[in-house]
């Protein structure tokens, strides 16, 4: 059934169709409508779930941990400061191997406080052991949340579905909402390998003494890495059933591209427009949209860079004092191959700063000049910077 939904509404429909059983969240702009919608579904009897109006994000995720540990399907949503506040528990949820699903509405971090979009919040916690998926549009949000439970429950890892604040969360698009029975066939009820139950008493969250801790971390790291296979498998299954698939990355016209733009999230849509326009003129350009950011798809990205001589990473985050995070991951992949394309990092869109088609054009032009000169202008460049106020 096709509905016109904002990104937040799409997320709520996703959690509803996935039959989330315990929903716990704390309001924060621009996530609010997603949980309000879920509260409505519960109040109307459309979703049979326990809705917990917690007193902080830290407790929101803690409630999900308790619920998942006891064998229920748990869901939460947050943004920015809320994600930062619950960050302690993010690491714990991953360490406990609980398949919680979270919608994170990408919003910039304080200080100064900003409610507008960038991806600093979720990228800042990329090390925590959660699978991270970044959505390009509202359809992908709904689909990814349903897929997230299937992935997480198979590999025993929590999954964060990220989407841009305001740009997606508050913008309405046509979304194909699958019917409940089809989703039920795709996503059976949660069957945890262990759960808190007096019939079979287990202890969860013990002290990880030095004789074992490193091995637990290794096992977790391997689990996240190997989850790539499951992300692909679940996506293929979803595509077979629902006609829509997203993969780990999207290779958009990269096969003979000399210049490739790499990006995540809604920005992909903007970049695609420029790629298409340039291709009409015979310009050999392409785009890689990174959908699955953790685990990072090194191999898959290299596979789409066969012909690339110049790469522009466009990202809405900055590892302060270093470079953008996506750039660091991409250059790691390249370093461990025998290819040596030139790579530049373009920081853009912070705090909701609009990333225009012109910016994308500027990026591609810059890279082309670098390729011609055989050297980069500078590793990191900021787009749309208001130099007059600095």
């Amino acid at each position: 059934m096709k509905l016109v939904l904002t990104g937040n509404e799409a997320a709520a429909f996703g959690a509803k169709l996935a039959r989330a059983q315990v929903i716990s969240a704390y309001p924060i702009t621009p996530q609010t409508v997603s949980v309000e919608k879920l509260a409505e579904f519960v109040a109307n009897g459309e979703l049979d779930a326990e809705f917990v109006e917690v007193e902080s994000e830290h407790s929101a995720l803690s409630v999900c941990v308790g619920a998942a540990a006891a064998g229920a399907r748990a869901f939460t949503a947050t943004s920015s400061q809320g994600l930062a506040l619950m960050s302690e528990i993010l690491y714990i949820a991953a360490g406990l191997r609980l398949p919680i699903v979270m919608a994170n509405v990408n919003r910039s971090l304080s200080a100064p406080i900003s409610i507008w979009c960038d991806q600093q919040d979720s990228i800042s916690v990329r090390d925590c052991g959660w699978i991270q998926l970044y959505c390009e549009n509202n359809q992908e949000i709904l689909d990814s949340i349903i897929q997230a439970y299937k992935i997480g429950e198979s590999v025993h890892l929590p999954v964060m579905v990220c989407y841009d604040g305001y740009i997606l969360s508050h913008t309405a698009e046509v979304v194909d909402v699958p019917d409940q029975s089809s989703v039920d066939e795709f996503l059976p009820p949660y069957q945890p390998p262990y759960k808190l139950d007096p019939e079979n008493p287990v202890t969860m969250g013990p002290v990880g003494v030095p004789e074992y801790y490193q091995e637990f971390r290794y096992a977790l790291h391997e689990a996240v890495r190997e989850a790539k296979e499951k992300v692909i498998e679940v996506d293929r299954d979803f595509e077979r059933r629902f006609g829509r698939g997203y993969g780990l990355i999207e290779n958009y016209r990269c096969d003979d591209a000399e210049v490739v733009v790499i990006t995540m999230g809604s920005l992909s849509g903007t970049v695609k427009e420029v790629i298409d326009k340039r291709r009409e003129r015979g310009d050999k350009v392409g785009m890689i949209k990174v959908r699955c950011y953790r685990p990072f798809p090194h191999r898959e990205i290299l596979g789409s860079l066969e012909s690339a001589e110049g790469i522009a990473v466009m990202e809405k985050d900055i590892s302060l004092g270093a470079t953008g995070a996506l750039y660091a991951d991409v250059t790691t992949a390249i370093q461990n191959s025998d290819r040596r394309p030139l790579v530049m990092d373009f920081i853009c869109g912070l705090g909701g700063r609009d990333v225009k088609l012109d910016h994308v054009e500027e990026t591609i032009e810059t890279i082309k000049k670098c390729v011609a000169r055989r050297k980069i202008e500078t590793p990191v460049k900021w787009l749309g910077l208001r130099k007059e106020v600095l």
């Binding site: 191997r97 025993h156 390998p193 262990y194 969860m204 990880g208 004789e211 091995e215 637990f216």
Partner: protein, 90 residues
């Protein structure tokens, strides 16, 4: 490094009460000794033992594998039937 069993998913421990494999009795410097004649089997020492290292009965029995020698049982015994003695040096 000790312990060569395969690690579990998320460090879950599936053997309830497995601390029994660690005999805290090795911690003692003082050990409780029961005077069987005086003990009336009231069970108060059993109740107050933080380690559950006492077996009820008349007389009670100290489980020396786990007894840490804290001396609570000796202090609380209403019949003064438990005295604390120096643990023998090994």
């Amino acid at each position: 490094m000790k312990g060569a069993e395969k690690i579990t998913l998320g460090a879950v421990i599936t053997k309830p009460g497995s601390t029994v494999e660690y005999e805290t009795g090795g911690w003692r410097t003082l050990k409780p000794v029961v005077d069987a004649e005086k003990c009336v089997g009231c069970g108060l020492c059993w109740l107050y033992c933080p380690d559950g290292a006492i077996k009820k009965g008349k007389p009670i029995e100290i489980d020396y594998r786990y007894c840490k020698g804290c001396g609570i049982c000796s202090t609380e015994c209403p019949r003064k039937a438990i005295r604390m003695e120096m643990e023998e040096t090994k």
